[in-house]
Symmetry: D2
């Protein structure tokens, strides 16, 4: 760019001009253009890992300090250190660890932010969505889509903890949050337990006698039992992707597309000794380790992980997964904002 | 319509005029208009049932009279009595019973007519499609889509018979048939056995590391084992449709739509004593009885069926299914041209 | 194929077997397989041209011999010589020349066969579709989609002739015809004249305050005035396609797709002296010459054409257009079954 | 909600706990839940109007203070008073007034933020996009979609000012900004002037010989001449919407959908004396007055407007338009983030 001579007078004139602009709620573009139109994404969110062995005591401590009735939801939120304490892991995604103790209920409400639940520990608490209940076990992926009535209850004898994933920062960023409480604490159960599992969990066979009109998957619970079995079976014959190993997307069986219009979910198996190639994508992702140990390089950070840890990969950061075990596969669950970027024509990826 | 006086002169003049028109490869519309624009569809195909106990000996007799090498495919075609001996069950659908004896090969070819195979008896013969093989067993649905290389071979010790279903009459009616032989008798096997089953048979979990670009399902074999289990499980909780009982559509897991762009496939369970309501649809359908006994009223015909029988329902004929067993469910497989009618905006249905 | 020894006994046995099969409404595939699975499409329809100078007197003669009231529609149908007198130009498409005299009405009815009208001569007769009327002039393309109420009336002082194009053979081939007469001869006019033209003829600007839910274009009349101007303007800068010159598809402004789910319409300008390259397509097409003279080679036939002639190109026939005028462009209108072949995954093209 | 007794000890324990959580980059959800899950959207952006008569001198003053070469783009940005000086009118949309003087060039670059330009004053400057130029005049809508090379130049004798509209806040909020400079100042012109206008401005007639694969409209310039004429013609017969009067959406002629995947554009005519009904929508919008005078109530603010003013309507604010002239129509242009909300399943509207 040619250098314009910055005479003192000109600088003063510009400054005066800028002040006048401010009075009219305007401003010069040229002083900030380079910070707005960056060559590549400059996420404020940083690569970060939340370790289960550190957080677990605090999650359970919450159970002593506050009740679900008071809390509405008893959740320890994961706050990206780059985002100034916001309730956000990245600019679009939120995650938290939710605890529900035996006998507790998390009351019925609905909101336009969509949520996924990935079970960390405990067995047999339920989630109810629009009249259907499912019992949850470790590794299960449970959906509570945009504007569906949902409540949780723990009728088992053990506490349950799950990872909540929401598009909360996105929905608030685009000013689209609606929230409503149900008249009663617990919504009526109107369907048989796991009704949607019988109808939709085959995927390749769908009930011809009912239409599901939502933009989201009709399947309430993608059980880990099936996900795990599918990964194992696939990995016996297939190496999958050089970046991700054997990676499956959880899909909406009505469309073959993502489970929610704002979030995509994946389960992946990194074979023993897997050393992935690095890749950048214009999406942000939150990973949760189901089983195994290894590390993920995100930019120039190395995030060492083991079971039940949670970590994030901001947009366009080079990301590379390694399974450090020579004998056991590692299993990762992840969710991303890929459907958003794809719908808006902004998805990119590049091998490093 | 007002009556125009048909003076002898006018009649003569019209006849002379019609003859002249013929010379120019033209004709009056008004003499045939009512036969073209009918109030409802007037299929020439009639309701009909082909009984397995009658046909079985002839199917096996073909195995004595002709080899697969000579025949290319050894098939006893089902010919609708209303269609003048055409290779067609309805105006759009073809079906036949194909026999392959131990040690035989049905050589590799491809064609734009798409095919489905529904296994009637025998165990362990294979179908190969584009480099992947699957072993077939009774009740399995195997796809050989439009323009995919396919061959069949029987390396088992027993004969196998399956029901072929093709869109052959349709593809020929719209002048779109292409056919090609593979240079060798048997195409090379380039994928692991049942590769697509591991990748696509979950439906709700799809490999994120490969794209399948076809307009058809990537899943080669929808096994009866899974279909049967899904029907049983669903029927334990659900009554399904008043017309069809518990009915599942086999779908393309990449889209949630029909397995092929020209044919949709269904499996249904009629509970013991089921007496369906009658319904008309602007599609034609071919049913195959997997298990059980009962009858289907099609218009004013009653087609009594038992296991392995095949019957057809022409367009817009009222159709009503009854399971005459008070103790056992009946299982029907069917395929229809519904995707064609739907894609063209011509699908209709009406309860009787 | 290996030769199996045809002993006299075997031939007899086969013949006896074939006769038995017939009794059960079955037949061997292998005796007809090669006629069904042809290497390329074998349309019975032949390339043919109907010349306006020959047909015109017969079209007007119909006006003397029969009234619209008696005829329902007074149409001289074009019958492909290869199709045994069927009401068809190809296996999927029908065409006819319809005459409506001053003061006449072609009463209101609807049918599932969709129709296009391309005006040949006359000015100012109307077509009404679902309560909206348009006045027609030469070169206008008017749509009467599947199941829309439509009537025609000639309140002008001159006769009008148009080319009717319908998917009649297709709709009957797939047994999907429904037809209904309106209670009155003339349906009520419920919209302003050319209501849809004001709303939809811009294409790039659509009314945000109404939804059009049909699978067909909401625009009733694509006037020749605009089509002609667009072709002329485009041809001033662009050479278009080596096969078709400057060719525009009439589209549904709500989708950018074909005007009807079963038929696509095109207008093309062949520049002076244009000698197109030959191409095959797995579709059938009917062309109508709006202006100019030249010829089209279809397979090894040469169809010399001039204004108002109509000719057809069967599926997969190599087709090559030539404008024999060195000074004037030629204008062709055409309609095809391309949307059908495309929807079903059966569309192909190949340069010769 | 039941009241848990807040003993001093408990309060202390909680505070201590919260501090500990902070050390692990975590936080309690329950203290902020109500601020995150709001009953309705709580945009920080406020209703605001920028008046042309006030801003015009400052826009031209920029032309004296800074060159396009130095500025890259010489734009006075509109900054919503609720958004703390951010380069944003709403959380998703940016707007600015760009000035280009005779002889100037705004150099070639591209970015993933998409832009629309709506011409305010001046005649004949050009925008070039991917090798095609168009000359711009007041009221024209010019698109420079995501990742297309674009430059502007003013070869006319008068200054030109346009309103820039971008999805900049959104693209940065979702960390998807990429930016690149072209090697040369001015990209080569590879197409005839207004090439896309000849091909795509009819909308209802599209070139059959080229495919446009972008997710955005292929039409570079939607001229005011045509938009104005379409509105006038439509308003002569139609009252349009009770909320918006006669309102047209600018669409992508290849799809009938919005011009860009992130922004929809509209032109509307408020008839003389029009008093709209109020409505809320879960989108944000920026309006620009092309002609006329009136006011828009946004929530409990009244924004009085006249020609060339620009104002905004935040998400879910009740919005009501009034044309205060009893004799003349008013013309508004607007752009919104509706495609984003719709793609993500978050669009809502409600009459007040």
């Amino acid at each position: 760019m040619a250098t314009v001579q910055q005479s003192p007078n000109r600088a003063q004139a510009l400054e005066a001009y800028y002040q006048e602009l401010r009075q009219f709620s305007t401003a010069p573009l040229w002083t900030v253009l380079k910070s707005l139109l960056t060559p590549t994404p400059q996420p404020r969110a940083v690569p970060f890992i939340w370790r289960w062995r550190e957080l677990r005591p605090y999650v359970y401590r919450a159970g002593e300090l506050i009740g679900t009735e008071e809390a509405e939801r008893r959740v320890v939120m994961l706050c990206n250190p780059g985002l100034d304490g916001a309730a956000a892991v990245t600019n679009t995604l939120y995650a938290g660890l939710q605890l529900i103790l035996p006998g507790e209920i998390a009351r019925t409400h609905r909101h336009t932010a969509a949520a996924i639940r990935f079970i960390v520990e405990g067995h047999g608490a339920y989630t109810a969505v629009d009249g259907e209940r499912t019992l949850m076990n470790p590794g299960d992926l449970v959906l509570t889509p945009n504007w569906t009535w949902h409540d949780h209850g723990n009728e088992s004898a053990e506490p349950m903890v799950w990872l909540d994933g929401l598009d909360l920062p996105l929905v608030n960023a685009i000013d689209a949050m609606f929230f409503e409480e149900y008249p009663q604490t617990v919504q009526p159960v109107t369907k048989a337990l796991d009704d949607s599992r019988r109808k939709y969990a085959q995927g390749t066979l769908l009930p011809a006698y009912e239409r599901h009109l939502g933009h989201y998957s009709p399947l309430l619970n993608y059980t880990w039992e099936r996900t795990h079995a599918a990964l194992i079976e696939l990995a016996a014959h297939d190496t999958g992707s050089p970046y991700d190993g054997v990676v499956l997307e959880y899909v909406n069986p009505r469309t073959g597309g993502p489970v929610l219009p704002t979030m995509a979910c994946y389960a992946q198996l990194l074979p023993p000794g897997f050393e992935g190639q690095a890749r950048r994508r214009s999406i942000s992702a939150i990973f949760h380790v189901v089983e195994g140990e290894g590390y993920t390089e995100v930019g120039n950070q190395r995030l060492d992980w083991q079971a039940k840890d949670t970590f994030c990969v901001p947009s366009w950061a080079p990301c590379r997964h390694v399974n450090t075990s020579s004998g056991k596969p590692a299993f990762l669950f992840s969710f991303t904002d890929a459907p958003v970027l794809q719908a808006l024509g902004l998805y990119r990826e590049a091998a490093e």
